[in-house]
């Protein structure tokens, strides 16, 4: 029930807002709605902390008896006993019971299961594990915080005409709330069709939010964003229907994600070509969203044209939908194919890191620079994912959270200066630090979190990704011919370190151009320092940057479980991978310092 509430609270408030004419009331309603959703989402964390009250899929099936009693009714009635619907349901329950013994399903919480479209075995099936909860909380948090950037949009005047720049702001807040509903739905749907529905629901509000309230090239950017994502998701759609048919045992297949995770690896062991095609389809769908080079070209346009709060949500959460999809679907459904394509994922991720950073270095538009930095930072997610070591995976998922905090902060910072200067040209700024010292101070936190300075959140996840990736023995790690070394994770990890250097370069150079040096325009003298709503936007983000940098365990403890499930799932279905993990474990134990370190760790933690 809690999940349903969390998903639909924003929608409910959107509906209420439809009937309210006054903009101020709409704003307050939106604030109430996002605040309420945020608290509800915090409630999701609770059972994860206390394992006592957790309900697993199996318990849910048996205890609540929702399906069980329905099935008993159907079976008891001679008229419905032998119908295909009863058989479908029985099969669904059987698969779920079998699946519920798996680690995966016991990591799911807050399960809700209501049959929906019976003819296709589609269910309203919700559930979250640690990854889902982390992303949902991130979503509700960002939706709340970005509201600060949207709060005064109606008061902002056009630079030339001095008329209000943004009109129809009521619709803006309504769409904003619908967007939030869609995103939360994406992160907790455990039915693939339901997931797809929410996935698409996110697109349309985004189209309007960019297309109506965006910058000068907004129409181009909005439709480009839409078509790119739609083309990707259509590939996913075909793959999804293939899954449905592949699991068809005579009474229609299933869209149940837990059941698919059980059934599909076995199916694809017999149909490797179909598996490869499905993996590519799904990978492209999610890669567009992440975005991975070469599917990233929509991102700079959309991010630059979108208004500040929407850029924050785009960078903060929408990109994470892609990463989430890769973790939850691509790697769970098709572990063998994922293992086979390690090098492809790796190379694309590495190119994203280095190329994204290199492009950011070349930008003169402040916002465009930040947009390209997203391409670069999301590349680490792919690097960690391809490595498939424990540290790498945790780093990759944690990087999603951290980028979800630092990059919205960067966009908020850009918004602050753009609101005053009406341009974003890095070369025309300068000396802002004297004029706006508080702003410069906040910017310092954002920039350094992005660079990955120790003590701030970006450092932890990037370091974990690098450790994890360098540990990985996937690909040719020195035991094959030397010229095949380019297939190894280790090789690309080394290349990726270049990304760190470039990141530091463009961010520091950018900071220098904006805040230091001579003031290039006398108008800058009139700039006021941060106002209340800007503080309200930046401070929570800055606090999270610091807190997660010092106590990373706060985030990591939720990601640990799901990543272990992911790794074990691959080990279960890919024998080579299982062997490799075992070898690594032995090797680590036999390292001379291994035992001592373990002992020391034990001493210190006691």
């Amino acid at each position: 029930m809690l999940l349903t509430l969390t998903i639909f609270t924003p929608l409910l408030f959107a509906l209420i807002c439809l009937f309210v004419r006054d903009l101020r009331t709409v704003k307050l309603l939106t604030l109430t709605g996002t605040l309420l959703t945020f608290f509800l989402s915090l409630g999701l964390i609770l059972p994860l902390g206390s394992r006592g009250s957790m309900t697993s899929l199996a318990q849910e099936c048996e205890d609540t008896g929702k399906i069980g009693s329905l099935l008993a009714d159907l079976r008891g009635n001679p008229e419905t006993r032998n119908t295909s619907y009863t058989e479908n349901l029985a099969r669904e329950v059987e698969v779920m019971q079998r699946a519920s013994q798996s680690e995966y399903s016991s990591s799911l919480h807050h399960i809700e299961f209501v049959p929906w479209i019976k003819s296709f075995n589609v269910n309203y099936f919700l559930g979250v594990d640690g990854l889902g909860v982390a992303l949902i909380v991130l979503t509700t948090f960002l939706c709340l915080v970005s509201l600060g950037a949207a709060w005064n949009m109606d008061k902002s005047l056009d630079h030339h005409t001095h008329k209000p720049k943004y009109q129809g702001m009521r619709a803006f807040f309504i769409l904003y709330l619908i967007l939030e509903t869609g995103i939360i739905g994406v992160f907790c749907s455990m039915d693939y069709l339901l997931f797809y529905v929410f996935w698409e629901v996110v697109l349309l509000p985004m189209y309007f939010l960019v297309g109506i309230w965006g910058g000068p090239r907004r129409i181009y950017a909005a439709i480009k964003f839409f078509i790119y994502t739609l083309a990707g998701s259509l590939l996913m759609f075909i793959a999804m229907l293939y899954y449905y048919l592949a699991t068809d045992g005579g009474h229609g297949g299933t869209f149940n994600v837990v059941a698919l995770t059980e059934l599909l690896p076995r199916h694809f062991a017999l149909a490797p070509t179909a598996g490869a095609l499905c993996f590519i389809g799904l990978f492209v769908a999610f890669a567009v969203k992440v975005p991975v080079w070469p599917f990233h070209t929509w991102l700079p346009d959309a991010h630059v044209e979108a208004p500040t709060p929407i850029s924050m949500l785009l960078a903060g959460i929408l990109l994470k939908m892609g990463g989430y999809g890769l973790f939850r679907f691509s790697y769970m459904f098709m572990p063998q194919q994922a293992y086979d394509m390690t090098t492809v994922v790796l190379v694309l991720g590495s190119i994203s890191i280095v190329y994204g950073a290199y492009c950011a270095l070349g930008q003169t538009d402040f916002k465009r620079m930040v947009a390209y930095s997203s391409v670069s930072h999301m590349g680490y997610v792919l690097l960690g994912m391809a490595a498939m070591t424990k540290l790498g995976l945790i780093g990759a998922s944690f990087q999603m959270i951290n980028h979800g905090i630092s990059s919205p902060m960067m966009f908020a910072l850009v918004g602050v200066i753009y609101e005053r200067a009406h341009h974003r040209d890095l070369n025309r700024f300068g000396g802002i630090a004297n004029q706006m010292p508080k702003y410069a101070g906040m910017a310092l936190v954002g920039f350094f979190a992005s660079i990955g300075l120790p003590g701030l959140n970006g450092f932890i996840s990037e370091a974990l990704v690098f450790f994890g990736a360098f540990q990985s023995n996937l690909g040719n790690a020195g035991d094959g011919a030397w010229w095949m070394v380019w297939t190894s994770v280790r090789f690309w990890t080394v290349i990726c370190t270049l990304g760190i250097v470039l990141t530091a370069a463009y961010l520091l150079w950018g900071y220098q151009r904006v805040f230091y040096g001579k003031m290039k325009d006398p108008h800058y003298k009139d700039f006021k320092d941060l106002n209340a709503t800007e503080w309200a936007t930046l401070v929570p983000l800055a606090i999270f940057c610091v807190v997660l940098g010092i106590f990373p365990q706060l985030g990591i403890k939720y990601l640990d479980g799901p990543m272990r499930v992911l790794q074990n799932n691959m080990a279960r279905h890919v024998p080579e991978f299982a062997r490799q993990i075992e070898e690594d474990r032995l090797e680590n134990l036999n390292r001379p310092a291994g035992k001592e370190i373990a002992m020391l760790n034990g001493v210190y933690t006691k």
């Binding site: 296709f120 589609v122 259509l234 759609f237």
Partner: protein, 579 residues
């Protein structure tokens, strides 16, 4: 009416669930002489048509209101009649020999009534498309009522023509005889030629109608020539029997050519490439209600006729002769071509109606995915083939419902805008959101459905089609997979021009003078637009509602499959007698 429909859907669901259909069963002999009852819906339409002509003569009675109510009753009554017969009526091909024996067979399979006729089938498939034609006719009535630009004086003629066209569609849906099919196509075509040119002073309309008629004349000429060739080879015009007899004819070139010619006739009605050239002009020139009617009902009837025809003619893998037409590749290529041409051409349109016309061509292409699955099923044969063919036919029927709702709705919006601005150009939509937010939001929902994005019914329809296509692809037809990828790419392309509406409505500033004036929509307008938009979302949430009836539509059509052994024996025996 909604209650009735719900009830019917419910009983159909029961039927699908395998519940007993009824306590009684009539022997074929008992109803043998009285099959006229099955023809009652058509008779009522026919009767209303004649009555309408009479009423139209009287000055006292010929108010638009009277005429509309007459036409309304004349179509609603048969619709309810058919709904009442749902799941009970069945047709047996006449040449299957012993009717009583066959009746016993069907009794074992749970059918309640069995009737025989030689020209028309009264099976679930026909019933579905008849209901579809009648329902579209009823919506068209509402749209005609809403359209203020039509000359009220000649309302009677217009309604008579719509009724005539609906009658043709109903007959085409049940035709099991090529001559009957040909006559039905002519009936609906002739009526629609006049409908297109109804505004006599309108140059565009007359031009469209002329093109429509010339194309119609040519394609029906080609079709009748094809039919005569087939008759020469098979010695019968009965579709099912023809399909069986053609297996023994060893002349692939002639058969292929003849089949191609008949397909031209159906293809013209379905407006699939390359027989689509008439469509944009006719659709743009015709009064908007007529455009909607043609693009939905007439297309559906074409598909019904084509599916029945092709289903009987799909015998490549079993026959000793190998006709030059490979239905699967043929239909798949036509589908890919149709959707690509439709979508790519729509990209360049500036006129809203013309754009929707091209979009309707593209949708014919999507529908062909289902038809191609039927072809795959037919070629495979056996139970698995039957299952795929049924999936294809049911998906086509399902998508047809979705397409009907969203297309009528979209055209109604075009009408509402044209009423106020007097223009059907895209520019008339500029700033619509400021003039009437409700209308703009409804249009958005309908457009989403046309693209096939959830949460809309169009998405479920497309999903059905894709599932059928994938199932066919899995059965060893990679061309189906290619077709699906082409459809996916096309969907992404189509989003560009559908979104031009969104851009115009929500983003474009529009003329200040116009934008400040609210756009008023009458009650009928709201009923049409709001009803279709709400249905589009509602039927998505209640996704199972129409699955059962569309499945039912194909389940009854399945009759030859379980009876295959018996039927073939019977027919062979009979064919032997015949020659």
């Amino acid at each position: 009416m909604l209650l009735e429909a719900t009830e019917a859907a419910h009983s159909a669901t029961q039927a699908v669930l395998g519940l007993p259909r009824g306590p009684y069963f009539k022997m074929a002999e008992e109803i043998g002489g009285h099959t006229l009852g099955y023809f009652m819906p058509e008779l009522i339409v026919c009767f209303t048509l004649c009555l309408m002509l009479l009423v139209d003569v009287s000055d006292k009675l010929r108010s638009p209101r009277n005429l509309l109510s007459l036409a309304f009753v004349g179509m609603l009554a048969p619709l309810l009649l058919i709904l009442g017969k749902w799941g009970t009526a069945l047709f047996i091909y006449p040449d299957w020999g012993n009717l009583a024996q066959a009746a016993h067979f069907f009794k074992d399979h749970g059918y309640v009534e069995v009737a025989g006729a030689s020209m028309l089938a009264f099976d679930g498939f026909a019933n579905f498309f008849k209901i579809f034609a009648l329902a579209s006719g009823l919506i068209t009535l509402a749209m005609l009522h809403y359209d203020r630009s039509l000359p009220r004086k000649s309302f009677g003629e217009m309604l008579t023509l719509v009724l005539g066209s609906v009658l043709g569609m109903m007959l085409l849906a049940s035709s099991t005889n090529l001559l009957m099919a040909y006559l039905s196509i002519e009936l609906m075509s002739l009526a629609s030629f006049v409908l297109v040119a109804f505004k006599r002073s309108d140059r565009k309309g007359t031009e469209g109608a002329l093109k429509y008629m010339l194309f119609g004349a040519v394609s029906s000429g080609v079709m009748i020539y094809g039919i005569s060739l087939l008759y020469g080879m098979a010695g019968t015009l009965d579709i099912a029997l023809m399909g069986q007899r053609l297996r023994d004819v060893n002349d692939p070139l002639a058969i292929g050519l003849a089949l191609l010619m008949v397909t031209v006739g159906f293809g013209y009605k379905m407006s699939i490439a390359p027989a689509h050239f008439w469509a944009p002009d006719a659709y743009e020139g015709a009064p908007t209600p007529v455009t909607a009617f043609l693009s939905v009902a007439s297309k559906a009837a074409g598909f019904a006729g084509f599916i029945r025809f092709m289903d009987a003619m799909a015998f490549q893998s079993t026959g000793n002769a190998l006709p030059i037409i490979n239905w699967v590749s043929f239909v798949a290529v036509l589908g890919a071509l149709t959707m690509t041409i439709g979508n790519l051409t729509a990209l360049w349109q500036r006129n809203a109606k013309r754009m929707l016309a091209y979009s309707s061509i593209a949708h014919a292409g999507y529908l062909l995915i289902g038809v191609a699955a039927v072809a795959v099923g037919g070629e495979l044969g056996g139970d698995s083939g039957r299952a795929i063919a049924d999936m294809g036919a049911s998906a086509t029927a399902f998508y047809m419902i979705a397409y009907c709702i969203m297309n009528f709705g979209a055209f109604a919006v075009v009408m509402a805008v044209a009423h106020e601005t007097g223009s059907e150009e895209m520019s008339a939509f500029d700033g619509l959101a400021k003039r009437n937010m409700g209308l703009a939001v409804m249009m958005t929902i309908l457009l989403l459905s046309l693209v096939g994005i959830p949460p809309t019914f169009g998405f479920l329809g497309k999903m059905n089609l894709f599932i059928a296509g994938l199932e066919a692809a899995q059965a060893g037809y990679p061309i189906m997979a290619v077709l699906l990828v082409v459809a996916a790419v096309n969907t992404a392309i189509s989003c560009y021009y559908y979104f031009r509406f969104l851009r115009a409505m929500f983003i474009a500033p529009g003329e200040p003078a116009l934008v400040s004036r609210p756009l008023i929509v009458s009650n009928t307008g709201w009923l049409l637009v709001g009803g279709s938009a709400l249905l589009t979302v509602g039927l998505f949430l209640w996704g199972s509602l129409f699955t059962a009836p569309t499945d039912e539509a194909t389940m009854l059509r399945r009759t030859p499959a379980p009876a295959a052994a018996e039927a073939q024996d019977a027919s062979k025996g009979h064919a032997g007698h015949g020659h």
